[in-house]
Point group: C2
Chain length 410, copies 2
């Protein structure tokens, strides 16, 4: 089914929001005039945060204050117009919430929006807000950005305050931003991270990760040739295809699956340590997928932690030594266009889609690297993102490059 963006979409039709309102604290600031929405995993003072689950809603109090990141946006004049649907406890890539429904992917209405920041991505893609904030642990901003044909940014780890944001896996949790154009994305990142983007820059090397290209559907590989050629024209002689082995030194044939295995072991241990006590006490009602997810993380063999934590440090360290401040990595954001609604199973450990997606997203998680997904490719009209990753702490440089790419594309 084709995009329905040629006509105006209503808030009701988008199914992106849990509730709408207007909060505006200032008529001044760099974001004055812009509207935004907030994933229902991030506190808004005076409202309850459900984290996408009715049992969580019942067992938690009204938020006493805004999350720090929400206050930052309001201080700069942006208007918050509502809370958007999150996948339960942010533990999903699908965007099909068993209790609160599936937000509309207006670029492909028969397909999932992606999650867990599903409502935030939908609200932006439907044109209902200028930008939205979400969270990204293993891809929860980047994957819905890819599915819904918008920009999505995961910052360097720890660069945006997580206070007032419910934890999933602290070793990888971040607050991320979704926006329909790169100039808005940049303005919001400037406020949240606290820098100014320098429009002057020199690009070092852009490393295309071969194993990432090998992981994706043939049609995605073809679709991203256009943006890759665009990069080649903009930055002549800067692109270099390379093997992730130059970073990880692994001699097996698993490629980025080594990164996936390292990531999920730590992530699952973190999730159970963060949320298991509530799960065991509240005995919450879960949708079938999330129930299975929590069974999986509860059963993790935690003696595997040592190997994964050593590998995480080693990969992080090698990336830190390898990437110069003006180098970039380039990968497809997702291995496929958004799957059809209802097409993914219950058990993520049996899902080739999850394995391939998380193999792609784990690079920035492990490396603590900033990543932006750009909506620059399509397969028969259905969007798929291409991603650039900067060195740790080089969020500003990364956004300079993204702005250049986006402005030259027009």
């Amino acid at each position: 089914m084709k995009s329905i963006l040629e006509r105006k979409i209503s808030i009701e039709e988008s199914k992106a929001f849990l509730e709408t309102f207007s909060i505006k604290q200032s008529d001044k600031g760099s974001l004055n005039g812009l509207t935004f929405a907030v994933k229902d995993l991030i506190d808004i003072g005076g409202y309850k945060t459900s984290c996408g689950n009715p049992s969580w809603l019942k067992t938690h109090p009204v938020a006493a204050s805004n999350a720090v990141c929400v206050d930052q946006l309001l201080n700069e004049g942006a208007e918050c117009i509502g809370k958007t649907i999150s996948d339960e406890l942010a533990f999903s890539l699908e965007g099909e919430n068993f209790f609160y429904g599936t937000p509309l992917n207006p670029r492909a209405p028969d397909r999932i929006p992606g999650g867990s920041s599903s409502g935030s991505a939908s609200a932006v893609s439907c044109g209902l807000v200028d930008f939205a904030i979400g969270t990204d642990t293993g891809g929860s901003v980047r994957v819905p950005a890819s599915n819904c044909g918008i920009f999505g940014m995961r910052p360097s780890h720890g660069f945006i305050s997580l206070a007032g944001v419910n934890p999933l896996a602290p070793s990888f949790d971040t607050v991320g931003v979704l926006a329909r154009d790169s100039s808005i994305l940049s303005k919001v990142a400037e406020v949240l991270i606290g820098f100014e983007i320098n429009p002057k820059f020199d690009v070092g090397t852009i490393y295309l990760i071969r194993e990432a290209l090998d992981l994706v559907d043939e049609e995605v590989r073809e679709a991203i040739q256009k943006p890759i050629n665009h990069l080649r024209n903009l930055f002549p002689d800067r692109l270099r295809e390379f093997s992730i082995r130059e970073i990880d030194g692994e001699m097996n044939e698993k490629g980025l699956k080594n990164w996936y295995e390292t990531h999920y072991t730590i992530q699952w241990a973190d999730i159970w340590s963060s949320l298991g006590s509530w799960v065991e006490e509240a005995k919450p009602e879960f949708g079938p997928r999330i129930k299975k997810n929590f069974d999986i993380v509860k059963d993790l063999d935690r003696s595997k932690l040592e190997v994964s934590i050593r590998k995480r440090f080693h990969y992080f360290r090698r990336l830190k030594e390898f990437l110069k401040p003006n180098d970039l990595l380039c990968i497809p954001t997702a291995p496929a266009v958004a799957p059809l609604k209802g097409s993914l199973g219950i058990d993520r450990t049996k899902s080739d889609y999850h394995l391939r997606t998380l193999s792609l997203t784990s690079t920035s998680g492990i490396g603590r690297l900033p990543q932006v997904s750009l909506p620059m490719a399509h397969v028969k009209g259905v969007p798929v993102g291409i991603s650039l990753l900067g060195a740790y702490g080089e969020d500003s440089f990364l956004l300079s490059v993204v702005n250049k790419i986006a402005s030259e594309e027009k």
Copy 2:
């Protein structure tokens, strides 16, 4: 009052523990044969975490699993022998818990142990465990290490999993380690962070921060001359006194108080966003100091966030550019020896001790830098720490230098 370490101190006499037990999961691993204690802000599966406050204890469930960092230590053969007293919600530097008491500082029994990882520092200093884990947001490992005459490490931000650890201010929260000698500290850090320390290294420049020396009591400045001379002998021509202005570029006369102001604004906003909802709903009983603390953070003018977040990024960025991987900063850990018990007031905003201490500790918080406090100085027999800080991510190098300094001192 002088040290009482010439005789054996019992667990009861230490007043460091809330409860004791034995948990040992493996007879193999690099920590086999070592015992440790866990700050009661960090989950141990099957036990309740009180976070130092009886109302928190009542309103929270039994921990379903160990915090990830606890599992890492148990996997490597260490034996956990108990839970140690924390200041309430980790929001204090004193170590005088209104409900659970003041753990013994055996090096100066009439003085406070320091907090908030008070029981962990006391247990190590009393010789009851080989090491202990605590948390450090604004100094909660480093200050008690200084007061109790032991080693204390705050790692690079995000380097040790915070899953199963109650948040205070996520922008600065870390898990830290307390140990009586540097080789144990190093072994524990190797496990928790996932690296191996290289005994071979070259030291670049060791920058003595002038404004840090200016902040401390005259007797502390005199006491740390001995370890500074030791550094000078070990690393000839490597020490350089310098001004923090070379980093922050501030033209006012506030010195490290600029860093304190930047740190506390973000920290207080983070604290209220993290804990305010529970405070407002549970209406907990607090000791007078912690009650005042929460009144203060609730009343923070959050429009000040923008300036502080920009300064935090700027200072972080400048430190990142300035410090080479083998450079170090050197500062006194605390401005004074441990204050006498009961000598500090209720209101931290009126406390010169807090202002000076937090001015010193905010450097690593803002810079996300690893810091080790070494027990190498004394004022009339009462210990005070001297600290080395490494560049972000250079925890391994920092520990190599600390090991060298400690081994040459013997």
